[in-house]
Symmetry: C2
Subunit: 163 residues, 2 copies
């Protein structure tokens, strides 16, 4: 299988028109509100989603061009493999955010804790179910040294050239 | 943007050649081991990943054809919108699993808690960092009624026709 083709199912709207100054993860985006417009063709797929307090958004880093296999992420000053980071310039530019779902009106999701740039194409919505992804004895590698920069951290300019 | 094109960065190997009998989520897959072969071109991107005990795998449900917007998921007998489930037949067939990372040898990840069918094309690897996706006051919608079926639940035949 050489190519996998997806189509956007909607658009994520946020207060952030550029990456600079945007919260770098949802946990740093408390109170930041946005909306997800799910295209009408897919709206039936939202049935029963309103019962979930949080959803996982998968989206396409549409402003990102190309990738590097080693990156210096926002939370550190050292190079790490891109798969050990959540940096947007990845071989497949898929972003993941767990956001708070405040309400659904027709095909519009009102969300909070948004760390996504405005007009981002949406690929998928999944219910957030802690038991599904339950883990124990967690180690967070290089981030254990960088946690003091989190969650107040906001994006600086280092990825601006990437967009 | 009409089409988004990705390429597999590797292959997930597991003991499951068919969906039937497979654990339906990682939390039900304790002790189930597998490997991820990351293609050599991307191996440099694994640097520093070994420090993480868990990783998020994003992959393509390659056996899945087409989709329904309303599905009866494994854990329930009622129809729900596909975005309120993790069913594989989705508009964009992206799967997500949090797996345990036991060790990395060159471009091979040895993983555990595998709920993925053998030979699944890998799209992305992200470090699992609970603080990034931290949430509170969690509600899990229709699944709160179905939790008694979890985590011992294994896939039954209901999605076989989908593959």
């Amino acid at each position: 299988m050489n190519e996998i083709i997806y189509k956007p199912i909607g658009i994520i709207h946020s207060p952030f028109d550029t990456i600079s100054g945007m919260p770098i993860q949802p946990a740093a985006a408390t109170g930041i509100k946005g909306t997800v417009t799910v295209f009408a063709d897919y709206a039936l797929g939202l049935k029963a989603l309103e019962g979930f307090s949080h959803v996982i958004l998968l989206y396409h880093f549409h402003l990102s061009v190309g990738y590097q296999l080693e990156v210096i992420p926002f939370l550190d000053d050292n190079k790490h493999g891109v798969f050990a980071t959540r940096a947007p310039r990845r071989p497949n530019q898929i972003g993941l955010s767990v956001v708070k779902l405040n309400k659904i009106e027709n095909n519009i999701l009102h969300i909070e804790k948004v760390d996504v740039v405005n007009d981002t194409p949406l690929l998928d919505i999944k219910p957030y179910v802690p038991d599904f992804d339950k883990t124990e004895d967690i180690q967070i590698g290089w981030l254990s040294e960088s946690k003091h920069r989190f969650p107040s951290g906001k994006a600086d300019d280092r990825f601006n050239f990437l967009f």
